[in-house]
Subunit: 205 residues, 2 copies
DNA sequence: TGCAACTTTGCAGATTCGGCAAGATCCGCT
DNA sequence: AGCGGATCTTGCCGAATCTGCAAAGTTGCA
């Protein structure tokens, strides 16, 4: 994973530091009260370097979300071919979320933090950014699904449709997890949601 | 629909003109060869006025897409309660797309135009914007679905999940329609996709 | 150790964003 | 008609962002 030289490691660390600083400051102060200058300072680099890593504030904030989404795509690629598609997707998502946020590492999230997170994801300027990150992952998921099912991601509707639906499901799960009054288990949520999808989303009784 | 005064009509017209100019120029020259100044000039207003209508170039370009998505949500609201959810959604989508782009009004789209469109939707800077527009519509769709099924869009997963899936389906259909070698009927595409969803997205044989 | 490749950084120019206040236009009511 | 208030447009301006470019500092490898 990190077998490469010092150079790459440092680069990766800078990227994480920048993204992390961007998130933390945004959660604390709110989106428009954070300038790129602040983020760069927090990560100990110049503003110009920030631009070398991310094209915008939003990109930096969403970077971790982006990485996780791609991790899920990668996890899906590793699932055995014989597995039914929905099982594979569910397990891959579980694996992706299991990586855990560096925030959540250890103690449960604090009230004020969750509050800030909610504000952050509600920020209109970031909505598009989150979606874009999801879209990038969907492209990869579509490729994997195409492989598994012997379809063509460029021509057949199926793989892209599945990928899009998976993305929507992940969004919904994340949203629910964040908005629920009482914290729910991610696993429970994922199994519930993908179960419904596999059943054709019947109307709840 | 347009019963309101001259003021509102003009405002609406300006909005359309700006969005339309933004799209046309982008298709012709490419995204970064269009400045807000150009768009404003094309629509006959000042750059400052542009900012009063849209927060960014991307927003202006996506505005029509945005309107159509909301039209679908509105159409869904009008469908009879007794109708099965997937039937209602399919019909609503059909109605929304039937409005037709002002481009397509009349003659079939020209080759160069479609080509430009493809480039435009492929523009990374716009991806997020399109998705954001879709997300806004999804929120409305979730509300309608919640009403129909007696669920709570704020607490239950179901309505948001359905809305997200519908959004994904519309994206996929649009994509397919735009990318297909030979133009396919929108109706055919929509019925195919929603049919698969209702069946739980079984793997194609 | 020494050179090639890569990264960071400061700087400058182009562009965008948003507040503010003046002027123009429209709406509703008398 | 005519008037007052509400709304829209616009120019001006400063803050912030984005990018290319070249110099300076690091790292990888023979």
């Amino acid at each position: 994973m990190d077998a490469k030289g010092l150079r790459e490691r440092k680069k990766h660390e800078t990227r994480i530091a920048l993204s992390w600083a961007a998130i933390r400051l945004t959660v604390e102060r709110g989106y428009d009260n954070v300038r790129i200058e602040d983020i760069a300072a927090e990560a100990g680099v110049s503003t110009r370097t920030f631009s070398n890593y991310f094209g915008s504030k939003g990109e930096a904030i969403v970077a971790r979300h982006h990485d996780r989404a791609r991790a899920i795509a990668e996890a899906l690629r590793q699932r055995p071919e014989s597995e039914p598609i929905w099982t594979a997707v569910t397990e891959a998502a579980l694996a992706g979320f299991a990586l855990g946020e560096p925030v959540t590492e250890g103690r449960p999230p604090e009230q004020s933090w969750v509050e800030g997170l909610r504000l952050m994801v509600a920020e209109p300027a970031l909505q598009g950014e989150f979606q874009k990150a999801g879209a990038a992952a969907e492209t990869e998921i579509a490729l994997v699904v195409a492989e598994r099912t012997g379809t063509d991601a460029a021509k057949d509707v199926y793989p892209r449709l599945v990928a899009g639906v998976v993305g929507a499901a992940l969004n919904t799960v994340t949203q629910q997890w964040l908005l629920a009054d009482r914290p729910q288990s991610m696993e429970e949520l994922l199994r519930d949601v993908f179960g419904r999808l596999a059943a054709g989303l019947p109307e709840p009784r």
